[in-house]
Homo-oligomer: 325 residues x 2
DNA sequence: TTGTAGGCGTTATCAG
DNA sequence: CTGATAACGCCTACAA
């Protein structure tokens, strides 16, 4: 009974005689032998690992995205190495290198904006990768995403159609977040297209946290003229804004319309329920996972995929009518 | 310039002459050489890996817990292998074995209830572990937790003190979730202690999902006599219940008091704001991470730690007064 | 069907 | 300070 036989009994049972196999299995159980994945991967050159970098799983839209990916990879017999970049470019860089060191066989990234050198690194190691949540202008960077700008335009347009002229925006920090950047650009462009002026005082760039949304709303509600509508590039920010407005006696949607982005489950259960842009987080995760796996196993080239998003109207948006003051 | 020197230049720069080091570093950059973690771990016998099993990171209380652990471990120069058991015992078993196979140096578990054999496995491989979110009656199973029963008792007691007699409970599936079990037990015991009857019709065991909370509330609101208060063993369930009640025209807290469990950030921003049991998720995660690391690095025995929880009263609970019908 | 032996990339040891 | 080499645990030809 050599190590080779034990290895075979465990990995390819059919190649081992029944009685030998049983004897080995019994001994394995008795000694609680657990094969060393490290050695296995090292020896075989296959880790079965896929790396995922998301800004933070603390935001439940990324948690849902992550869960979808994990479920899919688990079904494919692979493992997921999750890492959080915390919207920090330098940290993301370190993490990506660590993933390469860990010999991941594929990588799923969030957002396209990063040092070209990192894409080079992945290509150099022939590690397939796919960008999610946004699409690079560079067609050589495969993306599974939706159209952030179109989605944001729809949201802003919906507010304009409802009679709003003073529309403020709360978005992520555009310098470090390409989705935030795209959404802000879409906001400007849409105002432009409708002949509305862009007012820098109406822009709040914030970290994606509830309290930041509150603070942003507090600032914006002081502006003159006071905005009648808020486009928040993220539901967490929108909920913070909603809370802050309500606490200050600003009625939503009567005095202030608010529209979010993500369509978190909770958007349906706040009061008033939150209008928002529905984002295909789950489909995006599943599609990204499958594309990576197909590329690794069947050598299928990763093609672009653009999923649909749509605006969901709930109670937090209303028509803006001239009212007695 | 041997492989040994390269290894030293990268891992222990101070043991290599400056000019040699510089030459090596230049070549490393030029060739985009990234050392193989697999081989490193394999050779050194150290993986730097800590395993974490949580039911699901889709529940934001576990997301917050996970983030706290990850941040702590990252600061300690270690890596976290996250796995979701999805409240499935068999799956958790497989995952735990996979973690052992991955040669994690420590494991953080959620809940204490699992096959004794699994604890044996960890002990056999001398992998330190710690249980979180609940405490085993077995003192040999180290736990960093809070007192679920005491916390649940406080919540139920608060409702009784406010005049409620018909108090229903929505909790997790007790057969697979020891926290749910403890919270249900605490509910029964508290009713008992106050001379109130236990009514099985007032118990709903549900998966921890928003829609399940809605359905549970729909069922409970049909019961005769209709409960005047709901203790939900999880904020997600509570929010679902809150939403369902509101939609049915049952006013919270006027007609129905609701108290949750977890104190998710969102509990402060729903309408009405949700009373709940605050749980020390972040501290628990940090403490668990540090205990594991100290055990690995300084061979410190892992001792029990019991953190505090407390009831947070917000708007969703009110006194129950006899009212005109 | 089973055993033997080489190799995977790195680290540690020991000699130079 | 640097180089040579064994060892880590497993897999996979290939041989028996």
């Amino acid at each position: 009974m050599s190590v080779a036989t034990v290895s075979r009994a465990l990995k390819k049972p059919e190649t081992v005689a029944l009685h030998t196999r049983e004897r080995i299995l019994a001994l394995v159980a008795q000694h609680r032998y657990v094969p060393d994945t490290l050695a296995t991967s090292f020896s075989s050159g296959k880790t079965g690992l896929i790396g995922l970098i998301v800004p933070t799983i603390a935001n439940s839209i990324y948690a849902a995205f992550t869960v979808a990916i994990q479920a899919r990879l688990q079904a494919e017999g692979r493992k997921l190495l999750i890492a959080n970049s915390n919207y920090d470019t330098a940290l993301e860089r370190d993490i990506l290198i660590k993933l390469v060191e860990s010999r991941v066989e594929g990588v799923i990234l969030t957002g396209f904006r990063r040092d070209a050198e990192l894409y080079e690194l992945l290509r150099h190691y022939r590690i397939p990768f796919v960008v999610t949540w946004s699409t690079s202008p560079d067609p050589d960077i495969p993306a599974v995403s939706f159209d952030n700008e179109a989605a944001a335009e729809l949201a802003v347009e919906a507010l304009i159609e409802r009679g709003h002229r003073n529309i403020a925006i709360v978005c992520g920090i555009t310098a470090i977040n390409d989705r935030a950047d795209q959404r802000l650009k879409a906001y400007r462009r849409t105002l432009d297209r409708h002949g509305l002026p862009f007012n820098p005082d109406y822009v709040q760039e914030r970290l994606f946290e509830f309290r930041e949304g509150e603070r942003a709303a507090e600032v914006l509600l002081q502006r003159e003229p006071r905005p009648t509508a808020l486009f928040c590039a993220n539901d967490i920010l929108a909920l913070g804004a909603l809370f802050a407005a309500t606490r200050q006696g600003v009625r939503v949607p009567h005095d202030l319309s608010i529209i979010g982005f993500d369509d978190l489950p909770i958007a349906q259960s706040v009061y008033p329920t939150l209008s928002t842009v529905h984002v295909p987080a789950q489909e995006m995760g599943e599609a990204a996972a499958m594309k990576i796996v197909n590329c690794i196993e069947k050598n299928k080239k990763i093609t672009h995929l653009r999923l649909e998003s749509r605006v969901v109207f709930r109670e937090s948006t209303d028509f803006h009518l001239k009212r007695d003051s």
